[in-house]
Symmetry: C2
Subunit: 142 residues, 2 copies
């Protein structure tokens, strides 16, 4: 398992993650590009299924990196509540989310800003004898 600080450093080192949310009888997973506002995940969404399912729902946000050759890597999981802050007025959380200037990757504009407020952050290394292979320096990821 990774420490809280290691998890945050790894979250900060990446920009692509997976949003998981239960929709009806099944989990749904969406690939999104994100940025961090402190420990909060922020991503853009259009007004579709993803947003409808996630707004005010308990979600998971998963980020990993795996090297299939060496079979080593890491995986960090944020569990928390997602909130669409797009139309919030006089909300500094919304202002900071907007200021992150997250680029929409698709042409539909992705005009909604969603924050995932973490309740639990956990992570682990992947691979054989992973602990011995890693000398993780948080500074090198920030």
């Amino acid at each position: 398992p990774l420490t809280h600080q290691e998890c945050l450093a790894l979250l900060a080192s990446s920009s692509i993650g997976h949003l998981a949310v239960q929709v009806g009888h099944y989990p749904q997973v969406f690939t999104v590009n994100y940025r961090l506002d402190g420990q909060v995940i922020v991503f853009r969404s259009n007004a579709g299924t993803k947003l409808q399912a996630a707004d005010h729902a308990n979600v998971a946000f998963h980020v990993d990196h795996v090297d299939p050759v060496t079979r080593t890597g890491w995986s960090v999981l944020v569990q928390g509540m997602a909130e669409d802050v797009t139309n919030h007025r006089a909300d500094p959380n919304r202002d900071r989310a907007e200021a992150l200037d997250i680029a929409p990757w698709v042409a539909d504009g992705r005009s909604h800003l969603v924050r995932v407020i973490p309740a639990h952050i956990t992570g682990r290394r992947i691979g054989p004898g992973a602990a011995a292979f890693w000398t993780l320096d948080a500074g090198s990821y920030l």
Copy 2:
């Protein structure tokens, strides 16, 4: 959106995916290495949280590939039922899962074999004007 055949071809082109399953109030996501038995996802697991949560549960299995430089890629989602077939006797499904010879990446053996039997398979391209950028030839992924 991708066609069913394109989704299967992309699933076959990769070996690392994300298992999502609802555990209590939150989705959980695990990074696993997998292989396909036809349209069925097969992966190894040890006897921990992942297996307990997934066995006979409705799960999602997500595989994606994203190039952060070109901001293009794809994402395929399999929704279905997960089943631990390790101790099945005289079950050809179990025999085929075993014959896939999936390498455990960790030292604990990962002695359980889990199949995800798909109910829905969907996928989409990621990126601006994605449709125009892609001339997907299924053969090149198989």
